[in-house]
Symmetry: C2
Subunit: 424 residues, 2 copies
Amino acid sequence: MTASGRQAPSPPERVVARYVLDTAEAPERAAEIIAGEQSSGTFVALARETKGLKERSGAQVETLEIVGEVEGPGLPGAKTGPVLRRCVLELSWPLANMGPSLPNLVATIAGNLFELNCVAGLRLVDLALPAAFAERYPGPRHGIDGTRRLSGVTDGPLIGTIVKPSVGLSPDETAHEVAQLVAGGIDFVKDDELQADGPHCPFEDRVRAVMRVVNEAADRTGKKAMIAFNLTGELDEMRRRHDFVVAQGGTCVMASLHSVGFVGMVELARHSALPIHAHRNGWGYLSRHPALGFDYAPWQMLWRLAGADHLHVNGLANKFCEDDASVIASAQAVLTPMFPQAPMAAMPVFSSGQTVRQAAPTYAAIGTTDLIFAAGGGIFGHPGGVKAGVVALRKAWQAAVEGVSLDDLARQEPDVAAAMGIGR
Amino acid sequence: MTASGRQAPSPPERVVARYVLDTAEAPERAAEIIAGEQSSGTFVALARETKGLKERSGAQVETLEIVGEVEGPGLPGAKTGPVLRRCVLELSWPLANMGPSLPNLVATIAGNLFELNCVAGLRLVDLALPAAFAERYPGPRHGIDGTRRLSGVTDGPLIGTIVKPSVGLSPDETAHEVAQLVAGGIDFVKDDELQADGPHCPFEDRVRAVMRVVNEAADRTGKKAMIAFNLTGELDEMRRRHDFVVAQGGTCVMASLHSVGFVGMVELARHSALPIHAHRNGWGYLSRHPALGFDYAPWQMLWRLAGADHLHVNGLANKFCEDDASVIASAQAVLTPMFPQAPMAAMPVFSSGQTVRQAAPTYAAIGTTDLIFAAGGGIFGHPGGVKAGVVALRKAWQAAVEGVSLDDLARQEPDVAAAMGIGR
């Protein structure tokens, strides 16, 4: 159990992955083709694929449920037929096929199978891993507890924001922006994912300028804002940049997951003394077609194994294309412990168009404040300035926890009332 | 120019990416939103995003061409409207936004933009990079020339195959299979992507057993088959496994690109004294919906920059879902030099259902034999055995180069005639 009351599932003996499959093939046949392709089989029967070998190494169809029919033709290149059926398919593999290895797990559960022509649609929707993965991979080194300790925010969400414009500010301009935020009492600030170490804003210059501001404020007030510096780059660069952040007194680093990849992320986490703010940019190409790619739940498990401490989940009523149900499902997934003995807790990051209005529905849906709540316009757009914007968000969250409605709160708190007009 | 006569494009000053965009927004507006999101802009206008900053750091819409209308509604979550237009959109960024950094390039050209709600479809279809990337990244260390030198195949394609069953064989069983192939005169053998270092077939035991067979044959005949051992794993594992392959006299290693990621691949290539056979498993989830994700051409450029020496392109009349035009476009892309001063040549790998029948159309389409031609059933399925299978493939390729038809060849060569029956 974690603080938010969620329980880890019992780890299975075998690797288990669940897919939503659309197929015009007989579903049992399609399931067998997929299981074969991802284990001992191939397109043609082989003499060496003996019964004993199949029993030892073959993927098994654990469950196959036809849940309905969908309109065709499905993804191009798929075999067509009179009916396109949607199925939930659960496959399992012996751990011995790949061992507790994240990179080899990925090739097994999310490899060639998407290209099979019996597949008119395929989406990985769930994953369960044997306990050996928890023994092999430590997961996030800092997670929720470490983030709270380093940021000094023991209660409520971390109120955060993003340096904007995304790219184009000099180190001094960035520091000037951070100074305003720190003066406003912000808990968390992140670089944009487009800003790492370009020649107009070199990483070390930016960190030095920003940490001067942050450290001065911390010396004065005792509160040190957590700044997620985007160190995305090659491995030696990321290690060097990390060490520089540590030397300057910083408390967080950020990396773009699809830029770095699994092996790079495992190495970064192994090296890092700080929480890793994991940016999911590129998630759209993996998820945006509902019958292809990944649900967030299994995808985020892979990155928690690799060591991600903070994981982006978008936000309610966001400015992107994702609906609220999907955002909440993602946050629930990030908050669910991975193994009974190793929860690998990570912190969900809500962002995009977030204001005081999203506090109550977010809290109602996930029942915890173990999160980062990042607002841009929701802070800078406050007519009373940055400090009023931060304070209003904090009050809105406190009210959400206490069950006080935003309207009631606004009647008492003019800064909250003013914040309710943002984006309207 | 390369041996196959292809020329590298002149490198642009800025990073240039071309997309196919489906949108119900006014196309000019959608293009500006995308350019803004991927550079200095955000959803709300910011005081700090000055004219000077935008000029310096903003992405530019280089071209925007409406190519037609498509049936709606497009990807879920997109804004709808009376008309869904398909556009070709070319964006450019100043190199200074990210510097010549592969991981940061990826976040720029393939980051958040896929999630914008003005995007009803978005696919990256082309990419051009400033010369600074060629100065920063060496690309493939071995490529076509190194592969020919190490395999001893100076002329014609490397005739290759894949160890099957994909997973489940012991090291000795694998070596037994390789022994048959080596006796048959095979040039190239690869592990399956599902087989790396599982407890039933530990990497070092497999390499030792296989290389004993390969080295013995090489001592006897002077021909050493190139074996791509799948070393996919964490960075320290991959380095150790690579060193073990080198110590055993091996000449190639294999890695699954999506398992390893960009940073891991750059590190592996930096360490490797051998060609890296890059496996694209997972490519389906990036590409299978035609209005989402990646074309192969820009995607393979990223991996050549990272150091991939061999790149999978599927094969003509393959058993997967990809059509022939796409396969040929992929192979053409792999064979096209990336920069005038740095071609970063990689070798395309044809596989899946390949037989003597695909030699002539493949050669006709790409005009070179700088490739690996991998056949499973096309070799093991030959009624005359493995050797006859390999010889028939070699003769078919020679005939293709000489302009002799397969039917004419088969009248002279019984092993080719027998090979024509495979899979029929």
